[in-house]
Amino acid sequence: MLIVNDIKKTFNRGSINEKTALNGVTLHLKKGDFVTIIGSNGAGKSTLMNAISGEFFLDQGSIIIDNQDVTFASQHERAKMIGRVFQDPMVGTAANLTIEQNLVLALKRGEKRFLKRAISHEIRDLFREKLKILGLGLEDNLTQKVGLLSGGQRQALTLIMASLIKPKILLLDEHTANLDPKTAEKVLEVTRKIIKEGELTALMVTHDLKQALTYGNRIIMMHEGKIVADLKGEERRKTTVTTLLNLFERNSGRELLNDRMLLV
């Protein structure tokens, strides 16, 4: 479903701020894979997400989604294939627009948009049905401005938007990191539900080892722009927090506990 082939990206090349954020990353995802990504701060996790979604062009390597080479496709051209939720709840939705307007924008992700009235009764019914699985009561407030929602509500809405049209790949970048623990839990549950019901292929970055172990069928660890561990199948099933801690120490020579990672 997704092939990331030896990609490299260096920011600010030639300046004192030069930073190689991706240093030869290769990754193959099968259809239905739910991969969690962990790694220290600055490891290149977000940059990998951005590379897949096309925020910048690569220095080297290629990206293929569902047999389609998108290496040189611009961000809006690949949008049809990709659903995204960001760490910052403000990024995924338009605050000045209503819940239903945000949803209807997502309903046309990557499609041609026409000069016709965007919202109809049938579409509203569809939105109500989709929002119900959140259990937040958003389905009763379709015409409320999104700017009035809480961070957790916005993040949950973004999840629905990202999966409204089935994406070939769902990218979640620490999408619960800015939420309070209880809300985070809820949003994660919804995430799991949406991925399961939609049989989606997903990449989820998290700094919470427990989360990485609880969700998904594969764990990837990144460090300094590289994938340093890739746990799947039997190996993944046997993985514990201790395994991950040892792996991390071996690869970075640092104690994981000193880092931002949490062991909740």
Binding site: Q75, H76, A79, K80, T93, A94, L97, K108, R113, F114
Partner: protein, 296 residues
């Protein structure tokens, strides 16, 4: 007194198109487009020149509107293709248009004396009644069009472009195209206003554009402060009315003896006050909060 009101009403309605255009660029698209100082006289220049050349005033007005759209596209092109700062793109277009407008008119002022214009009434009604009815219908249609457009799939994509570019890009919209569309529409309205203004005043002048943006912003802010509530239809009506109110304020202060040369200065202060108010209020609140904290 009634005469003054009716004359001001006509001006306010004509400039209402400018304010709606500015609303579209500044508020909806979040693009501080200064081109309008050039596209207002562009509309006047094209319409007046064509009318003098013998064209039907409706045709002249239509072409003037299209010319404004093209100028807006040029501004957007500078930003989307060359990544030039929005403020600068507007200034470049505005400055370039000064020469273009002179070129179109052949001189700085073009009178339309005795020409058949769009307000020349074909009916047996008084010209001013006709003009006011015409303008009221036009502004209603424009508001209706904008309201409809901003609720369409494309219109919502345009609004999202102004609100959260990253989000709408992720949803597959080419934001460059949205900016081009918005700026074209906005400047088309401003140019239409210029075309009507020249026919209303009976001349086109290369200098009528100076201060368009500031006057437009003042009207926009007045309308918003007095009448807005975040509903888009209400906003559209509010800013159009803001234009009429602003022209009324001008007419009144002129009557009270303000020298006309001071008008732009007055408008500048209105806009400064409006822009500074939220800031000052915040500072005041912080200070007050601090004081009550210290005193407690």
């Amino acid at each position: 007194m009634l005469d003054m009101f009716l004359d001001t009403l006509q001006q306010g309605l004509i400039y209402g198109l400018v304010v709606l255009g500015i609303y579209l660029s500044f508020r909806i698209l979040n693009y501080a487009d200064l081109s309008v100082d050039g596209t207002l006289p562009l509309g006047a220049a094209v319409a007046a020149s064509m009318i003098i050349a013998g064209f039907n005033p409706w045709m002249a007005t239509l072409i003037a509107t299209i010319a404004g759209a093209l100028a807006g596209l040029f501004t957007g092109f500078l930003h989307t293709k060359f990544n030039i700062n929005p403020l600068l793109t507007g200034i470049l277009t505005m400055t370039g248009l000064y020469s273009v407008n002179l070129l179109i008119m052949g001189r700085a002022n073009l009178p339309l004396l005795g020409q058949k214009v769009i307000f020349t009434t074909p009916l047996a009604i008084e010209e001013r009644t006709f003009t006011i009815s015409f303008l009221l219908i036009l502004i209603t249609l424009t508001i209706g069009f904008l309201y409809w457009f901003l609720e369409t799939e494309v219109g919502l994509a345009l609004r999202a472009t102004g609100n959260n570019q990253k989000m709408i890009t992720c949803l597959g919209v080419n934001t460059d195209n949205m900016k081009l569309l918005g700026l074209a529409l906005s400047n088309a309205m401003v140019s239409l206003s210029g075309a009507l203004l020249s026919q209303y005043q009976g001349y086109a002048d290369v200098g009528i554009g100076i201060g368009t943006i500031i006057g437009g912003l003042a009207s926009l802010i007045i309308g918003e402060v007095l009448l807005s509530n975040g509903n888009i239809l209400r906003d559209l009506v509010a800013v159009a009315l803001g234009s009429v109110i602003y022209r009324l304020v001008i007419a009144i202060v002129l009557r009270m003896g303000l020298p006309p040369n001071m008008l732009k200065l007055m408008t500048t202060f209105i806009v400064i006050a409006a822009l500074a108010a939220p800031n000052l209020k915040e500072k005041f609140m912080i200070k007050r909060g601090y004081r009550s904290y210290v005193n407690s």
